[in-house]
């Protein structure tokens, strides 16, 4: 094999065909509110942990829906469960509970 000095760049494209619908449905069974997010960003804006470690619930939900479950876990593992986000969520999502469920559901993988 020749060393050409470069290799094929990897793609950043999100492939929704890889979305684990069955898994997500299971999560939604425990946490029906996960479907209610409107990606307004209130949670991220008010996040205490976010000042030290990139933390975003709305991005984490999006990551799961974009078949990037590991990224979701990464985005939530700095959470200190202070619950400030829950007070700002316009859709009234029980975010603390949701975070714990997501970490439990996808964290072990």
């Amino acid at each position: 094999m020749m060393d050409f000095g470069f290799t094929i760049n990897k793609s950043s494209r999100i492939d929704l065909d890889r979305f684990d619908k069955a898994g997500f449905d299971k999560l939604a069974k425990i946490e029906p509110d996960v479907r209610k997010c409107i990606a307004c960003g209130s949670c991220t804006a008010s996040c205490s942990a976010g000042q030290f470690h990139r933390t975003s619930v709305r991005s984490a939900i999006l990551s799961i829906q974009n078949a990037k479950e590991n990224e979701a876990v990464e985005l939530l593992k700095g959470c200190m469960l202070c619950g400030k986000c829950q007070m700002t969520c316009p859709r009234g999502i029980n975010i603390r509970h949701l975070i714990l469920s997501i970490l439990k559901f996808y964290g072990t993988k």
Binding site: F4, F6, N9, K10, S11, S12, R13
Partner: protein, 231 residues
């Protein structure tokens, strides 16, 4: 606020390419660079139209503006008839004018591009000239090119070219008077000034790094930080 934006607006490409972006993402959706670098042309449009000097300065110094391949696929789809590709070209021009490009690895590649391509244009009248297209630097051109390089006169004659000879034809010797025209065009239109500035900045950088010109060129040609790429 807006000083850099005003400078960008002097570039005709910005005036043609940016007219109130609505952040819909049709450009990023099909952008070859968005797929194979960490790149999002929509965000660039958004930063430029924010007129935020600090954010624009950050762009000018970044690798980001150098990821675009200028294929202009973005222009076909934009519902606002914008051209992110043209906006990137205006950013690149300003980055070079202000010397910001020297702060990024991809930006510093301008040194070599300018040297090789402008060199070819002024010396031969072509952007690409086969005798300067070396197999050793282009292994992907394959053994066929190696063979062509070794037998260039014979191969080009066989292919009906007029390599380095007077008169019309492929790869003919372009008359000196025409090359002189090109040189004067470069002089009157800012081409020469840009070439000089880029060359000087590159050589200064080489000196700072304690490298010879050749070593520096090699570094620029081959160096690639992993951070540019998706994982």
């Amino acid at each position: 606020m807006g000083i850099l934006y005003d400078r960008l607006c002097q570039d005709f490409r910005l005036r043609e390419g940016l007219n109130a972006c609505i952040n819909c993402g049709t450009c990023t959706a099909i952008c070859p660079a968005a797929e194979f670098y960490k790149y999002d042309p929509r965000s660039i449009m958004d930063i430029v139209q924010s007129q935020d000097d600090e954010a624009i300065m950050k762009l000018l110094k970044s690798d980001t503006i150098w990821y675009c391949g200028e294929c202009m696929s973005c222009m076909t789809r934009c519902p606002r008839k914008n051209a992110p590709g043209l906006v990137v070209m205006a950013l690149r021009s300003l980055s070079v004018e202000m010397g910001c490009y020297m702060e990024s690895e991809k930006g510093r590649q301008q040194y070599l591009l300018s040297k090789d391509i402008c060199g070819n244009v002024l010396k031969y009248g072509y952007c690409v000239y086969p005798r300067e297209f070396k197999y050793q630097a282009h292994l992907e051109a394959g053994p066929v090119w190696k063979w062509e390089e070794e037998h260039m006169d014979d191969v080009y004659e066989r292919l009906g070219a007029n390599l380095d000879k007077p008169g019309p034809g492929a790869e003919r010797k372009i008359p000196q008077e025409d090359l002189d025209d090109l040189k004067r065009i470069f002089d009157v239109s800012g081409g020469t000034a840009r070439m000089r500035a880029v060359e000087d900045a590159g050589l200064k950088k080489a000196e700072d790094l304690g490298l010879t010109e050749q070593e520096y060129a090699e570094k620029v040609y081959t160096e690639c930080n992993e951070d540019h790429l998706n994982h």
